[in-house]
């Protein structure tokens, strides 16, 4: 694992850039634990102060320090993305591996469900969930809902690899030596699909965080928990741009762009690493 990262960082500019940008994000998240203010504290500081030595990124109209608010919001947003990615990875691994290995009717049923989830429009459905849950729309609920919408594409990808693994001699050998299906999938097949799982994790985080930001900006999530989207929501609610408090909007937008660029670069370079043809291409240059 460590050698792979070292090799990637040496050979692949995109990976290195992504890693550095991600380090900035992680640094901000770690800083959030040293925040002098509580996550939901408001009207503690003089409002609408422009960035200066005391308030590095200024303060909001709600009397919050933009910098510390940013770190806490970023932490929640990142944890949200990781939560969704983790849960949906489990679903996609189980569905993909089982469908690929079992084949036949099991495969057909699982893939029929898979394809249905793939085309169902997610955004209207998420709004529907909010419409119904309203105040019960907690972060845990949103994570579970997003995770159950975001596994299908990657399950197909994993299935296609599992199909290939099934016809390899080592699988036959495992079957003849009496391993159970669960054991074959976990001990024999899982290591082969893990690199793909890592690459799709980044994509899944991009998708889920993007969705969360959009829902939050529109006010369709739990508005008490500070996240990146919530920061923009409150800035909009106070018409920050019109009243010239640009730092309130600019700070989260800048951090969001950094976060997404980091995830995107990491996922792109990992995809390339997983594809032997493009890896050879790069080495040849």
């Amino acid at each position: 694992m460590f050698t792979i990262i070292r090799d990637l960082a040496r050979q692949n500019m995109e990976f290195l850039c992504g890693l550095l940008l991600f380090a900035v994000i992680v640094g901000l998240v770690i800083l959030s634990y040293f925040s002098p203010y509580g996550a939901t504290d408001i009207y503690l500081l003089p409002p609408d102060m422009p960035p200066d030595g005391e308030y590095w990124l200024g303060t909001t109209s709600r009397g919050q320090d933009v910098f510390w608010q940013l770190t806490i919001g970023l932490r929640n947003t990142l944890y949200f993305g990781i939560g969704v990615a983790f849960l949906s990875r489990i679903i996609s691994l189980v569905v993909g591996l089982v469908a690929g290995y079992a084949g036949g009717a099991v495969d057909r049923v699982l893939m029929a469900i898979n394809d249905s989830v793939m085309v169902i429009p997610q955004f209207p459905l998420l709004i529907l969930f909010y419409f119904v849950l309203k105040d019960n729309m907690t972060w845990v609920a949103l994570i579970v809902i997003m995770a159950s919408l975001g596994w299908s594409y990657d399950a197909r990808l994993i299935r296609s690899v599992a199909l290939g693994l099934k016809s390899r001699p080592f699988t036959t050998q495992s079957v003849y030596s009496g391993m159970t299906m669960r054991k074959i999938l976990v001990e024999e097949h899982l290591p082969y699909v893990l690199p793909i799982v890592f690459a799709t994790t980044m994509n899944n985080m991009i998708w889920s965080i993007g969705m969360e930001i959009t829902l939050s900006v529109l006010g369709f999530t739990d508005i008490e928990t500070p996240t990146m989207g919530m920061m923009i929501y409150w800035a909009n609610a106070h018409s920050a741009l019109i009243s010239g408090i640009w730092w309130w909007v600019a700070a989260p937008v800048a951090v969001i762009v950094i976060l997404f660029l980091a995830l995107f670069l990491l996922s792109m370079s990992m995809n390339e690493y997983n594809d032997p043809r493009s890896r050879l291409n790069r080495m040849g240059n």
Partner: protein, 334 residues
Amino acid sequence: MTPYLIFVLKRFGQFLLVVFLGVTITFFVTHLTPIDPVEESIGAITQMGQSDPNAIELMRQSLRELYGMQGSIWEQYLHFWLRLATGDLGPSLSAFPTPVSTIILRSLPWTIGLMTVSTLITFVLGNAIGALAGYYRKDMVLKAVSLVFIAMLPIPYYILAFVLLIVFGFIWPVLPINGGYEMNANLDLSFALVLDILKHSILPALSLILVGAGSWLIGMRALVSNIITDDYVVFAELGGVPKGKILRSYIARNAMVPQFTGLAMSLGAIFNGTVITEIVFGYPGIGNLLIEAVHAGDYSLVLGLSALSIVGVAAAVFIIDVLSPLIDPRIKVE
């Protein structure tokens, strides 16, 4: 039966399954919750002063009937399907007694128009640049253009739309930033109106195109750079076939095929994009309608819109899936 017919039937089964699952989810999500639309409407009415208990009970009865909420949840479920099949989605709560279907039909052309045109432009633009960038790998202009599109890919949609809004609405105010037409426009069909509608659609469409083109570009570029090492392309190059002809007839045609299949996959995502676009730019389509319905607590309208979007996307995917073997002989239909 011909293999193609079997393939179409299988895909049709898939289409029915998607609709069944989607509508079932929509139904049960809205029915297994503490919110009772009838009690909510009663609450709204009693607040306005009506307080005779007999009248309220009568109202409760008729509202239950209107919303199709009598009997057990299974009866309601069956009833919901029957109404959906006949296109009757009940009356809207916020614009009572206008039927939900009438309200949706008023907004639908806007969404379909914006969606079709911007999807087609996105598809053509992304694939054209992708094919060129994959073939002329050393060209700096193409590299720069691809980089710009790819860099926009990971940015959340809302943020990008917001930036467009600031740039063209405030910094360089040349385009209308809100609505589908001028507020006091005369809605008779005229050249001026068409021009006005087009002008209002530029920013929403542009934002959809900027977001969408990058992924087509990446896919097409990868496909083309795989194909250029194939023997028949190398052979054509050695034989002195003009470069433009190689790109058009030898490479792009083969690379386009999987892209058409991808078009079906992207339709679901396009719908997500349109909802957000319409909210940001105040475009009078069904995305905006959905948000208004959520804010107004219009239960039947939200239910109708969700069911419609699922059926619509599933149907679009079905049509493209069925057409793709006609475009691509390599897709096996058996």
